[in-house]
Symmetry: C2
Subunit: 220 residues, 2 copies
DNA sequence: CTTTTATTTTAAGTTAACTTAACTTTGTGA
DNA sequence: TCACAAAGTTAAGTTAACTTAAAATAAAAG
């Protein structure tokens, strides 16, 4: 490895694959904070290396090679995240940015060693699955956005969908973390904010916040 | 940070400063495996940023800013090395290459956290001193190259001067590691190889090997 | 079905970090 | 002390990864 930029594009493509395994160049440009033209440029290079299937104006698809390549980068990223959180004790709102830098470094041997130390973990600190070395991906529990719950329903947090400091620090403040139980007490129809019960305390949370927290519905 | 190349040049300059705090561009080019012209190019850029003092055909000097910058990179590298060795359990012949990639990543916060985990270590796995966050450098014990010892003299290994896999793996095989006691039994004057006693076993080692192992002389 | 809007591509140009080749300066050894 | 090799610099060119602006295509909306 040493193709930091290519690796970034590939994993961005991988992460933005929708249900039909199609990606819009548009979205990549935004996520990577570069111009559309830069994306087009890179797509040509990736296609030349048979990592993606690309024809002008068509949506982007990963080849099997490209996909396994991308999966490996995601694997590195998520193992780093968990390692930093569990072994080094970095708070969960810091691990994403840190791992963003580290994911391109570290030999496969190092990554595998960390995986062993972590006892072959299945999910990173945000609840996202960690691809195994053979490319298999742990199955996630069925989950829905917290904002989809009705009044009186309960959920266990299984994943969050926003890795920004602000967001995660606030979640930690009100006690939202993985495996935490949340009960919806009331929903205010005018702005879809909700009153929720978390570990015995009530909080009012916005629709935007609830949209980004995913829960597994459970009986209360 | 994000100036990987500049950081590499700076730390290469720092590490190659001789007793008069002068560095030859020549040496840098070789260590970095680039052309002399590339070095000249970069020197101009570093000078423009006041990180070095540079005039054509003169030897290179670091400014105070440049030096503290460089020291910080060395610090990162050596903390990574020790962390990988002690916490992750990577063998000592692997840590240098791995740290070479990691030294440019990781926030200062992460580096400091690792330093705490390691209990403010003074030396890396090769015996080199780790600059503290304030720039101070632990004093090394007086040491001489093993090849300087006379017959019957004894030394404790305090540092090695070559980080290549081959070299370090071989050292490990014959039992040479930091703090290991070595006794010189015989010196063969025709090739300066020596017969040494290490943990009860005798080995014949070449002058080249002995040159790269540094010991503190002790009574036997 | 045509027009408008959104998305994507092409074209031309920039910057950082290199290269090789030719030139200049420095310092060494007979 | 001076010739010449070693070290260092300059000049010109390359490549990867970008940029902006203009042109082309696709998608949506009347």
């Amino acid at each position: 490895m040493r193709n930091i930029s290519k690796e970034d594009y590939l994993s961005a493509i991988y992460k933005n694959i929708d249900s039909n395994s199609k990606v819009k160049a548009n979205v990549i440009a935004e996520k990577m904070d570069v111009s559309n033209a830069a994306v087009t440029d890179m797509l040509k290079k990736l296609a030349k290396e048979s990592l993606i299937i690309y024809e002008p104006y068509k949506t982007i698809k990963l080849t099997p090679t490209g996909e396994s390549y991308a999966k490996n980068i995601v694997r590195r990223h998520r193992i780093w995240e968990l390692f930093l959180h569990q072994i080094v004790g970095l708070p969960w709102d810091k691990v994403h940015d840190e791992a963003e830098n580290l994911e391109h470094s570290g030999s496969d041997e190092l990554i595998n060693r960390m995986e062993v130390m972590l006892n072959f973990p299945e999910f990173d600190p945000h609840g996202d699955p960690i691809p195994a070395i053979d490319g298999s991906i742990p199955k996630q529990r069925d989950s829905v956005s917290l904002s989809k719950l009705k009044e009186k329903e309960c959920g266990l947090v299984v994943r969050v969908n926003d890795f920004s400091q602000n967001f995660l620090v606030y979640l930690a403040q009100i006690g939202i973390e993985l495996k935490q139980k949340i009960e919806v007490k009331e929903i205010r129809s005018f702005d879809n904010s909700m009153l929720v019960l978390i570990a015995g305390n009530e909080f009012n949370i916005s629709k935007t916040l609830a949209d980004n927290v995913f829960v597994e519905i459970v009986k209360n």
